[in-house]
Symmetry: C2
Amino acid sequence: MLSGQQHTYWTCKFYSFADNNQVITQNKYTMKPKGKATSFDIAHFAGVSQSTVSRALRNSPLVNEETRRRVWEVAKQLNYKVDKNASNLRTQQSSTLALLLFEDPTGDESQINPFFLNMLGSITRACAKQGYDLLVSFQSTSQDWRADYEDSHRADGIILLGYGDYMDYQSRLQQLLAQDTKFVCWGATVDGREDLTVSCDNYGGGKLAAEHLLQQNRSQYVFIGDASDHSPEFFARFKGFRDTLTAHGCGLSERQIANAISTEESGYHATRSLLANNIQFDALFAASDLIAIGALKALKEAGKEVPGDVAVIGFDNIAAASFISPALTTVQQNTTLAGQMLVNNLLSLIRGEAVTDTLLPPKLIMRRSA
Amino acid sequence: MLSGQQHTYWTCKFYSFADNNQVITQNKYTMKPKGKATSFDIAHFAGVSQSTVSRALRNSPLVNEETRRRVWEVAKQLNYKVDKNASNLRTQQSSTLALLLFEDPTGDESQINPFFLNMLGSITRACAKQGYDLLVSFQSTSQDWRADYEDSHRADGIILLGYGDYMDYQSRLQQLLAQDTKFVCWGATVDGREDLTVSCDNYGGGKLAAEHLLQQNRSQYVFIGDASDHSPEFFARFKGFRDTLTAHGCGLSERQIANAISTEESGYHATRSLLANNIQFDALFAASDLIAIGALKALKEAGKEVPGDVAVIGFDNIAAASFISPALTTVQQNTTLAGQMLVNNLLSLIRGEAVTDTLLPPKLIMRRSA
DNA sequence: CCTCCATCTGACACCGGTGTCATAATGTCA
DNA sequence: TGACATTATGACACCGGTGTCAGATGGAGG
């Protein structure tokens, strides 16, 4: 014989009222540990309506100071937390961002490129600083993307991270753009692509590497990475490197370029094949540190001294770069700043503000290898 | 003069109806890119009720095969995605887990312990495999925890990861337990704590390290890490190490123990102070790889050969362990399995099944340093 | 032809908040 | 004292799904 229709606060979970308005179960009152308190419960205990509770808890100027205090007090006692699902549903936004991390299709499930893990760390921090939560999801480039985080209202925007295969990437990005999904990409700005990107100045980074090697009067250069435009970031590093060499009269022929994806193993094999083909070189620029580390291994096996016989420069400045022997000279990307810019730009985009692509300055970290 | 009260499917966003049931804005129909389709929209286009749409999309056996196909067809055309907020609100569960990562209070904001980043990777994968999303949040141990993910219905359960300061940890965990929050801890099982844990057999790992060093007829041992019970994991590694040595007649006096937190720097300083105090040792066991790497640096600076003068064993098998010179012998924790167990156990707990603490077997990875 | 049951569908309450609107209470000023 | 502005509050629709219940339909069986 319970009634709970006329006054909404009677739907309070803990108390029930008879039709004559008398509390009939107060004596049995127990706060079930699992029964989370709702704003109706607070409304009842504070003796106000649920609307007022909602306003009070969000510090609306409309509620009386004394009322607000009482509501907060009760809320604290009941350990009340706003139900985010209800709140998000009503306000149509989630104060959550989603991070999609695209892995190199190495097949090896266990290891993730440490550079991206670093980025993940700084993105997480940047999100927290802005009061946003972060949904993280790893994606295989080949598989279907789970990019529906915004469609399903789980996230307000998406951050894309990874050396995506360009061809595959392209069509997906178009689709996201068509759906008006808010997203930011880490990587390279690509002409003709209208997505918003934050990236390291990869061209400038390649230039830094070239200049450093030129200063050491090296004469025969090789590049290991992807010199096609499949991977725009690697391509930009390559161009910066090659253009600078060319400007100083040192060309880079087809034979002095070896393809590799961003893994140690791939770098190792690429270097071995250069050596096997009898390519002469005393300076090596790898498109990433993992590649460079693989290259160091191949060089050591071949009896080449680093930096004596060959100078090696990597890219990223991952932790391992400082541990390996010889310590790796590399082009650092500022991951902390990158994470902040990705998050800030995405939030601006979501707010509808004008945002432009961001280029972050690279920095040469000099160690033993070059 | 729109009406949308009597029949719920009139609240469809794209069509509006006059009181006489005539479509009045059909000619103006445009699917706004931002206006995400709802189940009402599908209902309209498929010529069924919204209830049926909901059922059809979840493949309820109640709907006719032909109807189901039509609904799916329309849903696909409209690029419909279930609104997770609405769905979660109604079903009172979120198919999301939250990961709280506690950082060592190093003050240095930029680097995160690579071991935990690896764990993060495997946890993310394990979540995806189970159809759950993952919210990631980094926490400073000192700060207030943001453990309200479950209270606010953002997550169904929480995974706690990190070498938490035990004292601080304890009271928070009690609170979580009191609130009946579903959570799993990575770390060590601690007597008297009622939380569910998944951990590496740290004691057994310490034992592996000791046995390996004993086999090499080393005679003077040191341990670097935390030998107090502030950090239960390190303590268990220490106990396994010490007990095994003791069982073989090799003690470990107070002076042969140096405290360090899990950073390279801390390991470096701890090792230096051992050397400065003139402690003689030819075998060193570090509670983590980062500590071991710091120790290697200190040893090298002091002119000690590794493994000639001193054998060094670490714990974790982070990526850097194989890059550093000499390559680090270490006790590996199976992060892939750990991630899976954390997720699986948490899901079992959420489902109300009986779950017990899980111990994962460690494995000695033999490299150059010992 | 009526009963019974299986199959399918629509109406509706509900989840727990947010925002709008109406209104009661109080104060201000002519 | 009456007109009006100000302040504080409650009622209620609404967000977009899910689950229950009632009812429509059609075929089988007596």
